[in-house]
């Protein structure tokens, strides 16, 4: 039973690159937290610091309320699954699984029992005498998991464990990991760049960028209430559309956002719920619209918008429609807005096609990219 805390952790490498900057993260006992972010954002570094493979430059890391900054990896009672599995090539699967137990001087009889047990859970019983090179990618992955689980670690670390597998196997093992987590309830820190893994596995997800945490929350909350543009764009596939805009008062004396020469009137409720947004009247802001919030047919109180279609990608159950960005200046040339439309979109390329947006599904960000108001 273990809690983990990063308190103001900074990691500076010898060449003065900063991988982590004042990093704070708390992991509750038995919680499964996913660190997700683009490559180079410092997520693997955070994991390696927790494992003790790299020294901390500033700040503290605590396991069970004990500072472990100077504790060696051997003494931290953690287990880790590496991206390339790092199985010992010269040892059989059985020896690989036994290795951590041997290191802790586990009696032979208990060791055999534990190995058999973990092999049964991970469906490795028939492979115990094989060498790693005689295994498939998926089997190696399971051995790596087994080696981490066999000695009952207090914290379980996984560094992009699925990235070397093909898509089908990845989905299957993702489900297996979720199942194992549900039965064993280990405190887990899982690093990935894949938002699907993050959203499906994590009790909570920490989105990282440039060595800093952007937001930590449940997968649903991250998707529904992103704190900034980075999180909004990172989650969802495709991510949220961000359109430069201005907040105005329209002809009916209501709050509206301008998109090019058109405008979308915001509902009265939003202004009442969040009066602070009125101070942005007349100022440039950024409008966020999820691709799935744009539809081809009018529903409820959605507002029509004339858009120029660039191209359409038909994916079977849905289509991705690319539009010219309808901004009032400020966007880069070539910026597009993407919509996810259920079914097939007829007449691919033409100007002034009418699409519909629910004004209540619009996010508003300030110029610094921080959220002003959301649904």
């Amino acid at each position: 039973m273990s809690k983990v805390a990063f308190q103001g952790v900074t990691k500076r490498f010898d060449d003065d690159t900063i991988a982590l900057r004042k990093f704070d993260l708390y992991i509750e006992d038995g919680e499964f937290v996913v660190l997700v972010g683009p490559s180079g954002c410092g997520k693997s570094t955070a994991l390696r610091l927790l494992a003790g493979l790299e020294p901390v430059s500033e700040g503290r890391i605590l396991i069970d309320e004990k500072v472990v900054n100077t504790v060696s990896p051997q003494q931290r009672n953690i287990a880790m699954v590496f991206q390339n599995y790092a199985l010992y090539p010269h040892m059989s699967v059985r020896r690989n699984l036994e290795f951590p137990l041997r290191m802790s001087h586990t009696p032979r009889r208990i060791m055999a029992k534990k190995v058999e047990h973990i092999a049964r859970i991970l469906d490795l019983s028939d492979l115990l005498e094989r060498k790693p090179k005689q295994l498939s990618g998926g089997q190696r992955q399971r051995v790596a998991m087994g080696r981490a689980l066999v000695r009952d670690p207090s914290v379980f670390l996984l560094d992009e464990p699925l990235s070397n597998l093909d898509a089908k196997l990845r989905a299957q093992i993702r489900a297996d990991i979720a199942k194992i987590q549900n039965t064993l309830n280990k405190t887990t820190l899982y690093v990935t760049h894949d938002q699907v893994e993050a959203m499906t596995l994590g009790d909570r997800v920490a989105v990282m960028n440039a060595g800093q945490i952007q937001q930590v929350d449940t997968p649903a909350a991250l998707y529904e209430r992103p704190q900034n543009i980075f999180v909004a764009k990172f989650l969802g596939s495709p991510g949220m559309n961000i359109i430069p805009s201005t907040m105005v008062i329209d002809d009916t004396n209501k709050l509206a956002v301008r998109l090019g020469n058109q405008s979308i009137t915001l509902s009265q409720d939003r202004q009442q719920a969040n009066p602070a947004i009125t101070k942005f009247i007349g100022q440039p802001i950024l409008v966020g619209i999820r691709p799935e919030a744009i539809s081809a047919t009018q529903v409820m109180n959605s507002v029509g918008l004339k858009l120029n279609i660039l191209s359409v990608e038909f994916l079977g159950h849905e289509s991705l429609v690319y539009f010219h960005c309808p901004d009032a200046g400020g966007s880069e040339p070539g910026d597009v807005v993407i919509a996810r439309i259920v079914g097939k979109v007829q007449s691919p390329i033409h100007k002034n096609a009418e699409f519909f947006i629910d004004p209540d599904a619009i996010y508003l960000f300030n110029q610094e990219g921080l959220i002003i108001d959301g649904p």
């Binding site: 060696s72 051997q74 287990a79 590496f82 390339n84 790092a86 090539p89 010269h90 290191m103 597998l165």
Partner: protein, 278 residues
């Protein structure tokens, strides 16, 4: 076009054949010479007949055992060379590992020194080294022929480059699994570095087996002298009998060939790091 290719490859193979002959001729002459009467060895050298051991017999081999303590030389060579190889593997692999993988102050400077030491030949330091071992009172011992050659800059460098290439995750996984530095080295690194151990072993063996100058300087007692000094002793034992010298030569080269045949599988074999990366 095809003709040109053919001619090019004929040229290449012809060139290689000349080189191979250049190496084989002396060996063939030695083997043939060891099997015929002394007086014919020089007489037939330089003729094609020199390579046909007519009237074959093993008299020269019997002579070698009668005239010099061959078995003593052989034992000395085997003992000295084996000791250098075994201790050398241990010391140099540990040094290479420390340079490649461990963090300690001054590491990069030491590495530079090691690389610089590779270009200094024994001849350059033979005299001061001689003075040193004389002060230590080590002359005429096995020790003096073994200790100075255990640590070897070139071996360290070979180990260093190999360990740099081993996936770091193997060590990190072992660390997290609870293994200490010594155990990681002996149970994870060494079993995955057989190729470089074999390469260093074979190189060290070959160099030390032929070692002549240093033993000549520091020994004057047949009891501790190795094979190369044994063969030299024929020059001071008139009459100069080339048949005996060749027979001695064959017996001196045979173990080298044997070692190479045993180890060449490892020597040639690339590095097997399978098991890492799907």
């Amino acid at each position: 076009m095809r003709n040109r290719k053919l001619i090019a490859s004929l040229f290449v193979y012809g060139f290689l054949a000349v080189i191979v002959l250049g190496f084989l001729i002396p060996i063939g002459m030695m083997v043939a010479g060891s099997l015929k009467p002394d007086e014919r060895v020089l007489l037939e050298a330089g003729t094609l007949r020199g390579y046909l051991p007519a009237e074959m017999n093993l008299q020269n081999y019997r002579d070698v055992f009668a005239r010099v303590p061959f078995m003593r030389y052989l034992f000395n060579s085997v003992f000295i060379t084996s000791a250098i190889v075994v201790f050398g593997l241990l010391v140099n692999s540990l040094a290479g590992y420390a340079l490649a993988r461990m963090q300690w102050p001054g590491r990069d400077r030491i590495l530079l020194v090691v690389i610089a030491l590779m270009i200094i030949p024994l001849e350059a330091i033979a005299v001061p080294l001689f003075y040193e071992v004389t002060l230590l009172g080590w002359r005429n011992t096995y020790l003096v022929q073994i200790v100075p050659f255990i640590a070897n800059a070139f071996s360290i460098y070979l180990f260093y480059t190999f360990f740099l290439g081993l996936p770091r995750e193997l060590e990190e996984a072992a660390k997290i699994d609870g293994a200490g530095a010594w155990r990681i080295f002996f149970t994870i690194i060494v079993p995955n570095a057989k190729a470089v151990f074999a390469a260093v072993a074979i190189l060290t063996f070959l160099i030390q087996w032929g070692s002549f100058l240093w033993p000549l300087m520091v020994t004057n007692n047949e009891d501790v002298r190795p094979l190369p000094l044994g063969i030299a002793s024929f020059y001071s034992l008139p009459p100069l009998q080339w048949g005996d010298i060749f027979a001695f030569g064959v017996m001196m080269v045979a173990p080298v060939l044997l070692v190479f045949l045993v180890f060449q599988r490892w020597f040639v074999k690339g590095v097997a790091t399978t098991g890492v990366k799907g």
